[in-house]
């Protein structure tokens, strides 16, 4: 018995566990701060009737799950990752016939009072499968074929998630490209991806013709600078012209087409709102339902961010104190317990408190990267980077969203946002990592 318990705790990275417990505790406290309404505190925590009480119970469930994971042999994860991935995809597909409409999302299956959001859970499976693939013995990641295969592992569930109207969750999957980058995906892919994103943003910000002019000017500059190279490298000129044509094409045709025919108007609107512009749309071309949704989202989106900024901004240096934040206490910020939980810290504990929280998150991320780098097995390393990427994406997008610098895409803040599925998913992600790390002396191939 003693032997076994020593076995469980051996090699566990306690710093990570402590950071985890601290964050969940801060989260429960924040939920408490927003929803406490003068009831008896102890009773409130145990009753399961309040949100903070439920979160506490979810935390308990997570604790049990964590122990189970720590008890599991780490070989189990490598062995079953493909099966889990397959299971995850099946679940994602099953959502389509069996989903329940909750608050406009089509991603939730509900049976006998229990809700399951496969898109959320699938992150774990994708991460495992990706790690498994990256650690295959016969993999040559320099080959385009394997790069494409790895990418498709990520993109498949992302597409299924987009089809369930969960753009935010789908975007999370793209954070796995960071893993691919670490494992050898050429940086140019990411750079090009980033460049395209920049181009899209600039398309929104600048006048079409002006942008075309700027692009042309850059192209001409390149041609001028490398004019002597052309003799040696005849293709270079064509490459420059080709890139220029592609950019202008994206900017003039692809983006407008994508916005008007692929994305929903309210999504476009939200993207526009983030870069600080109003989205002008020909309303006659829209269906009534779309128009209504757009109107609602516009109101809600702008209102959320405005109230969130007021809440955080009014926190000042040291904040108003726990339970004293007027904005977060009285429901001024919608979705406060879930997506906008950061407001509570911002208002209640000010810049100082926010800094400590951000520090905690930063510590956690760096710790995970360090852990990743000390792994002997490629599986564990890839998995660890997957965890870091997912957490990083969630943290940056979520807090950026409450601060008004990122579009409002409803994704939770890891460990803090209210919600059972999210908390369990993040816990499972983290504790599998801790388990793998504990066994880092073993070679897992």
């Amino acid at each position: 018995m003693r032997n076994q318990s020593a076995e469980i705790t051996k090699g566990i990275d306690w710093a990570l566990v402590i950071a985890y417990i601290a964050l969940v505790t801060i989260g429960i406290m924040s939920i408490f701060a927003t929803s406490y309404r003068d009831e008896a505190v102890l009773n409130g925590f145990l009753s399961f009737k309040t949100d903070y009480s439920r979160q506490l119970y979810y935390f308990a469930i997570c604790g049990v799950l964590a122990v189970f994971i720590l008890l599991t042999d780490s070989k189990f994860f490598t062995a079953t990752s493909n099966i889990f991935y397959f299971l995850g995809i099946v679940l994602l597909i099953l959502v389509f016939p069996f989903h329940t409409d909750v608050k406009g999302t089509k991603s939730i299956i509900r049976f006998s009072g229990f809700q399951l959001q496969p898109a959320e859970l699938c992150k774990v499976f994708v991460n495992l499968a990706l790690a498994k693939y990256m650690s295959s013995l016969d993999l040559n990641f320099k080959k385009l074929k394997s790069q494409l295969f790895a990418s498709s592992l990520i993109i498949l569930p992302a597409i299924l998630t987009i089809l369930q109207s969960e753009t935010g969750l789908a975007l999370v999957y793209f954070s796995f490209f960071l893993v691919l980058y670490r494992e050898g995906l050429p940086a140019s892919v990411l750079v090009i991806g980033f460049a395209v994103a920049l181009l899209v943003v600039l398309t929104l910000l600048l006048d079409q013709n002006l942008l075309a002019l700027i692009l042309t000017a850059i192209a001409v500059l390149f041609v001028y600078v490398s004019r002597r190279e052309f003799k040696r490298n005849k293709g270079l000129f064509l490459v420059i012209v080709g890139i220029w044509a592609l950019c202008v094409g994206i900017q003039r045709f692809a983006v407008p087409y994508f916005f008007s025919d692929v994305l929903k108007p309210y999504q476009v609107q939200r993207i526009y709102a983030t870069v600080g512009k109003d989205f002008q749309v020909d309303e006659s071309t829209l269906s009534d339902a779309d128009l209504k949704k757009m109107e609602e989202r516009k109101k809600a989106g702008n209102y959320n961010v405005k109230q969130s900024k007021i809440a955080i901004g009014s926190g000042g240096m040291f904040g108003k104190g726990l339970l004293k934040g007027t904005q977060t206490r009285y429901d001024f910020v919608p979705e406060q317990r879930t997506d906008f939980i950061f407001c509570t810290i911002g208002e209640g504990f000010g810049f100082f408190g926010s800094l400590i929280l951000l520090g905690l998150y930063l510590f956690m991320l760096f710790r995970i990267v360090n852990i990743a780098e000390r792994q002997r097995s490629a599986f564990a390393r890839a998995y660890a980077y997957g965890v870091a990427s997912v957490f990083f994406f969630h943290i940056f997008i979520n807090i950026g969203m409450t601060l008004g610098i990122v579009p409002v895409i409803g994704i939770p803040l890891p460990f803090m946002s209210y919600g059972g599925t999210a908390l369990i998913t993040f816990t499972v992600l983290l504790f599998i990592l801790i388990r793998l790390d504990a066994d880092r002396q073993m070679i897992l191939r």
Partner: protein, 681 residues
């Protein structure tokens, strides 16, 4: 293979770090750079409610409250709680049309939102209140009654003195540097205005936290920023409310004023202006309608004639002429003047009522007989003084006396907007007569005519000077302020004794005796009261009005001034009745009744009959009545036409319920028209 990509871990670390730095910079910007968000948050979540204190109560000299607080009720509506309402029932009680009901409900939602209560109907009248209170359970919780303090005048008297409160307007807001806030009530006239700072008390402010739907959830920061409302302080006045009521009864159906002052203190015992009005008309929901109606009445009931009515004093000024001459030393009490029925010292003779040569043989006789010649003469003697023989200097000195008596200047009593009457200075005559004038030019001043006007208050004050033998206190109403301390400076100026002559008491006695003769055997015999020696003086003021574009002489104003008892005066009175003819006819008996009521504390039955007689007599110039009637009929006609037009538009079939409907519409339209009129005013 992974070995080759070792360096990439640092790229990832840098990426994470940069992202966090971006977040921190943004946080810095939001939280530390400006206080905008602080204010926005406060505005979002904290509501400031003003707690109105009770206004102070005003008591009369015997401790009876003459202006106090009462509760009126507002019908409040909480729009989001209005469910399954018996709309028809509520409309019936409130006597409004369902359409209007709907409009008001929408209006209150627009104004205050669905989740906060709004006033649905303010200051509900008693009858409606009783009906509502019985039935309110049927309309709850969407509708409920809320009490609101209002002013009430239990004696329905002293409207001009007490004044009224009203909502502040933007002018007042600016003038008071935004001390008041929109929706505040403040004293707009009378004592309510003058003692506003005492009566208003201190507003309390309650900070409450509200939620995202504007609902109040509780006190902000446990109420540490709240301030408690402090009730206004009470005022004790010199007013005798019974005397005041009597004065108002006597002035019924007349234009005029009565002022009674306690000479020893300057305390005003009664101040009435006719016609007056029930001050309760200017509280509650019909304030504006009543106000505009009275504002346009040609008899001007809102006009306080006691301090704003300016009349030639006529013979009532003669005792003062005597005082000036005595103080200047130009005459002694034994000085006599041989009057043969007219004063012939100047180009034009001035007629005198008496012809027997001895009627002005000395000062006392001259006063008793009100000899025009005598007082014209001593006026000229005073002005053409022995020292410099310079009329201008002499006149300036004479004017100085008059001013020190309170004539031609504002006495400064504790009511706003007092008028100062008229005593001209030399430049007026210089201009008018091109610098060539002498004491003959304005000799009429000696008998209270010409370029001289006085308010009834000033005349009563003159009586105080004679009663006190040479001094007066500025007339005022308020005796003391509740919990008065050194910071209350409002009453200080009423404690200053104004010495105005250096004449010895013995000579004053002669002036007083002359005035007593007026009552005992002269023109004012109607003022006599058994067992009380009264000193008085009648007066008849000529006056002119413009009728149909022509200046015409109107019937004389009737003056009487007096004080009693002569030996130890406790009351001084001035009475004027406009266009009532000779002073003795109306003013004298009125003053007599006032004195008797005050000095004996009661009136006998026969005297009450006299009161009723005077009360029932109407003395109003036909021209005033004519104009007033025309205005009334115009108003009625206008309403009739409007109602006709309204009912013509609403084409209704003939059955009972619809005729009710028509009535309602008629009522609505009359209401609308009244509103129109308000806006015109």
């Amino acid at each position: 293979m992974s070995v080759f990509n070792q360096s990439r871990q640092n790229v990832i670390r840098v990426l994470i770090l940069v992202a966090f730095i971006i977040l921190i910079i943004r946080l810095l910007f939001l939280q530390l750079s400006s206080s905008t968000y602080d204010l926005l948050a406060l505005d979002n979540a904290v509501s400031k409610t003003i707690v109105y204190p009770d206004r102070g109560i005003i008591f009369d000299r015997k401790g009876r409250s003459i202006l106090e607080n009462t509760l009126t009720y507002d019908l409040m509506v909480l729009p989001n709680a209005v469910k399954n309402l018996d709309t028809a029932g509520l409309c019936r009680i409130l006597n409004i049309h369902p359409k209007k009901f709907h409009d008001r409900l929408i209006g209150s939602i627009i104004k205050n939102g669905k989740f906060r209560p709004s006033v649905f109907e303010s200051a509900i009248d008693t009858e409606t209140f009783v009906q509502l209170q019985e039935n309110i359970f049927r309309f709850e919780p969407g509708f409920y009654l809320q009490e609101r303090p209002a002013r009430s005048y239990p004696y329905k008297a002293a409207a001009h003195v007490l004044g009224y409160v009203g909502e502040v307007d933007s002018n007042i807001l600016k003038r008071t540097n935004f001390y008041y806030q929109m929706g505040d009530y403040m004293g707009l006239s009378g004592l309510e205005r003058y003692y506003e700072s005492i009566l208003m008390g201190k507003r309390g402010i309650r900070y409450q936290v509200k939620d995202n739907k504007n609902r109040i959830v509780g006190p902000y920061e446990k109420g540490v920023y709240d301030s408690v409302a402090v009730a206004g302080r009470n005022l004790n006045t010199y007013l005798d409310v019974e005397l005041q009521v009597l004065a108002e009864r006597l002035l019924k159906n007349k234009l005029g004023a009565i002022v009674a002052i306690e000479p020893k203190t300057g305390g005003i015992l009664a101040m009435a202006s006719g016609p007056t009005y029930d001050p309760n008309l200017l509280t509650g929901s019909f304030r504006k309608a009543n106000f505009s109606y009275m504002l346009r009445d040609t008899a001007r009931p809102l006009f306080n004639r006691a301090i704003k009515g300016q009349y030639a004093p006529g013979s009532t000024i003669k005792p003062m002429g005597a005082l000036i001459a005595l103080d200047e030393g130009v005459i002694t009490p034994s000085f006599g003047y041989g009057c043969g029925g007219a004063y012939r010292g100047c180009n034009r003779p001035i007629a005198c009522e008496h012809k027997n040569p001895a009627h002005a043989a000395n000062l006392r006789l001259a006063l008793a007989n009100s000899c025009n010649s005598y007082f014209s003469h001593i006026y000229r003697m005073a002005v053409d003084n022995r020292q410099d023989r310079n009329t201008r200097l002499g006149y300036t000195r004479w004017k100085g006396y008059m001013n020190s008596f309170g004539m031609g200047v504002r006495l400064g009593l504790d009511l706003p907007s007092e008028d100062k009457g008229l005593i001209t200075d030399t430049s007026f005559y210089n201009r008018l007569y091109n610098n060539s004038w002498n004491s003959c030019t304005n000799v009429f001043l000696g008998i209270g005519q010409g370029e001289m006007q006085a308010t009834p208050l000033q005349m009563a004050n003159l009586m105080c000077i004679i009663a006190n033998k040479g001094y007066y206190y500025t007339p005022h109403f308020v005796k003391s302020i509740e919990n008065e301390d050194d910071s209350d400076t409002l009453l200080n100026k009423f404690k200053i004794r104004h010495e105005v002559t250096k004449i010895p008491d013995t000579i004053y006695n002669i002036v007083q005796l002359g005035m007593q003769d007026v009552v005992d055997r002269g023109t004012a015999m109607g003022a006599r009261i058994e067992g009380i020696s009264i000193a008085g003086k009648t007066g008849t003021a000529e006056n002119y009005g413009i009728i149909n574009g022509r200046r015409e002489k109107l019937k004389n104003h009737s003056w009487f001034v007096c004080f009693a008892p002569r030996e130890n005066p406790t009351i001084a009175i001035a009475v004027i009745v406009e266009n009532a003819g000779f002073g003795a006819t109306w003013a004298t008996p009125m003053a007599s009744l006032m004195m008797e009521k005050y000095l004996k504390d009661t009136l006998s039955d026969t005297r009450w009959k006299e009161v009723e007689r005077i009360e029932g007599t109407e003395i109003i110039l036909p021209i005033v009545k004519m104009k007033r009637n025309r205005l009334d009929s115009l108003r009625k006609e206008k309403i009739k036409v409007q109602v006709k037009r309204a009912t013509a538009v609403v084409d209704l079939p003939n059955n009972e319920s619809d005729s009710k409907h028509t009535q309602q519409i008629t009522a609505l339209h009359i209401e609308a028209i009244l509103k129109d009129e308000e806006s015109i005013c």
